[in-house]
């Protein structure tokens, strides 16, 4: 009997689901008022106050997605902020990374400033951006850009510096002009490095968007959480966190698919596919 249900590659999903059910089950047990005697708190409603009740959370999520269907506009806003932050941050990182990698003098001059800007915890810029760009999506995008930019920049910089000199010499011998070298050798080499950091960049763009919303906004899932916190509505806060987590997973999966398609010219780690 145990042999049938014990964990193995076939029923992995089942076990993962079981863990999830167990966690929510325990959560429910510990927080539903009146179900078990209060262990850590004075009365039996405080646990629910501090941690929220799973059933209420699910009800809130259901209301968001089905009954009231009012979360979609907020999800859309957060998504737009993420995508814009990613796109602008990547573009800036690509351009600057290429420029500085190909121009050693410019790189030497800019080096300490890049280091300084990178070391600063950029999340604290969020309130400043809110002052500069207002409470709309611009300030959230700006924050996301500052997070994404440095990842992409360093990757591109490294990628261009590490272009194989043999490949470069070969392209020159084949007759590539400096512009053709940039377009056909440096750029593909750099973008491959960008794609390898795709997961991190998208993740950071998402963080920038949500944190920006949380620190001052009028729309977006971060805003919903902010509103709920103001009213001490812990159930809505938890619901918001769950929705964000699920959203991040979906985003990650989508990025993974794009990455696999764009990176198919790279050998999988440790192995080359022989014919």
């Amino acid at each position: 009997m145990w042999n049938l249900i014990k964990p193995r590659p076939g029923n992995l999903r089942l076990w993962q689901l079981a863990v999830l059910v167990a966690v929510f089950g325990l959560w429910h047990l510990l927080t539903k008022p009146g179900l078990i005697p209060p262990l850590l708190f004075e009365n039996d409603r405080q646990a629910a106050f501090f941690f929220g009740e799973p059933l209420v959370i699910f009800a809130r999520i259901w209301a968001w997605f089905v009954t009231n269907a009012d979360i979609y506009q907020h999800l859309w806003v957060t998504l737009v902020e993420t995508v814009l932050a990613f796109a602008i941050g990547t573009l800036l990182g690509l351009v600057l990374g290429l420029w500085l990698a190909l121009s050693p003098l410019a790189a030497a001059i800019a080096d300490p400033y890049i280091k300084a800007l990178n070391s600063m915890p950029r999340v604290i810029l969020a309130p400043i951006f809110a002052v500069w760009f207002g409470l709309g999506i611009a300030s959230k995008v700006a924050l996301g850009v500052t997070l994404v930019f440095f990842i992409v920049f360093f990757n591109v910089y490294q990628g261009v510096k590490e272009v194989s000199p043999v490949v470069l010499a070969n392209a020159r011998m084949l007759g590539a002009s400096p512009r053709q070298l940039l377009r056909h050798v440096y750029l593909p080499s750099a973008t491959s490095w960008v794609f390898s950091s795709l997961h991190t960049s998208v993740g950071l763009a998402f963080v920038g968007a949500v944190v920006g919303e949380y620190l001052g906004s009028s729309r977006g899932v971060g805003y919903l959480i902010l509103q709920a916190e103001g009213a001490f509505d812990i159930n809505t806060v938890m619901a918001g966190i769950l929705v964000l987590t699920a959203f991040a997973l979906v985003l990650d999966a989508a990025v993974g698919r794009v990455e696999r398609r764009l990176m198919k010219w790279q050998p999988s780690s440790g192995e080359t596919e022989k014919l």
Binding site: V167, R172, G175, V185, W265, T272
Partner: protein, 301 residues
């Protein structure tokens, strides 16, 4: 498009008293002279091998001939004209992987034609891939090809431009012995232009560097080849002339041997002919001392 120089006395490549000294950027007092006073020429359609001990500056000479490196002194002439910048009439086959990993095999072979704005690049590239035996592998990426296949793709990439000079830097040293011999025969067949015995006849349309594509025999149609190797067998089997370079630093040619073996040659079979063995002994007598000298220096360093 330049018309090819047809005067028989004009060498394809002429290095005259070329010296190359490398200076350490951080410490200008440290200088290393790779080659000194090298005078070397390759006639049009001639296959010349350069052999020498490791570290004797063979690759340096090749880079000078390619225009990738400027000599400290001396001149380089290509078909009678001084060389400035990259040698546009030469193709270069590198020792290590030089294919662009983000392009498919076909796309790689097309690359040179693309850069030079040739009209039907794709069709030509496909034809060359077919000629090196990789007709069905155009859509593979380099990491999906074996070492020998990558070398053949590089060969197609170089030859697709129909260069008048081919520079090869130990192109087959990274291959196993069997693949190496196959590749050597392939190169000889493509160089001599008699691959029509095995495949369809080559097209005779005009090519980027001005000459007709590999003619069906005859020295005028052949390309000049400068072939670097440390494998003496390979050098003698493939070339018309073998030049021996002394051990570094400041190496220079110390021997030149004409290889009068008949063509077409099979690289594996020609090795046991009596004339081959004679040549081998003669050249090795000169090379052996240099190899020993080279090792002594490396041990002492």
């Amino acid at each position: 498009m330049k018309t090819p120089d047809t005067s028989p006395t004009s060498d394809a490549l002429a290095l005259d008293a070329v010296s190359c000294t490398f200076v350490d950027r951080n410490d200008p007092s440290r200088r290393y002279t790779a080659v000194r006073d090298v005078t070397l020429s390759v006639g049009a359609g001639e296959f010349v091998s350069v052999v020498g001990p490791t570290g004797c500056g063979k690759s340096t000479l090749l880079n000078v001939a390619a225009g990738l490196l400027e000599p400290s002194s001396g001149t380089v002439q290509v078909f009678g004209r001084p060389l400035a910048g990259i040698n546009a009439r030469a193709g270069y086959m590198f020792q290590s992987d030089s294919l662009m990993p983000w392009r498919t095999a076909l796309s790689n072979v097309m690359a040179g034609l693309e850069f030079r704005g040739v009209a039907d690049a794709r069709a030509r590239a496909q034809e060359w891939l077919r000629r090196v035996g990789l007709g069905g592998f155009g859509d593979r990426y380099p990491h999906q090809l074996s070492g020998g296949m990558r070398k053949r793709t590089s060969l197609a990439q170089t030859l697709a431009l129909d260069p008048d000079i081919i520079l090869m830097d130990e192109p087959f040293s990274a291959l196993d012995i069997q693949t190496r011999q196959l590749m050597e025969n392939e190169v000889l067949a493509l160089w001599a232009g008699d691959d029509d015995k095995r495949r369809a006849a080559p097209s005779l349309s005009a090519t980027p560097s001005g000459g007709a594509s590999a003619a069906s025999g005859g020295r005028q149609g052949r390309k000049a080849v400068l072939f670097i190797t440390h494998d003496l067998d390979e050098a003698i089997a493939m070339s018309d002339r073998v030049v021996v370079l002394s051990a570094g630093p400041a190496s220079r040619p110390i021997g030149e041997f004409i290889v009068d073996l008949e063509r077409p040659r099979d690289v594996a079979e020609v090795r046991v002919s009596p004339r081959f063995i004679e040549l081998h002994q003669a050249i090795w007598a000169v090379l052996r001392d240099e190899v020993l000298k080279g090792y002594q220096q490396q041990l002492a360093a």
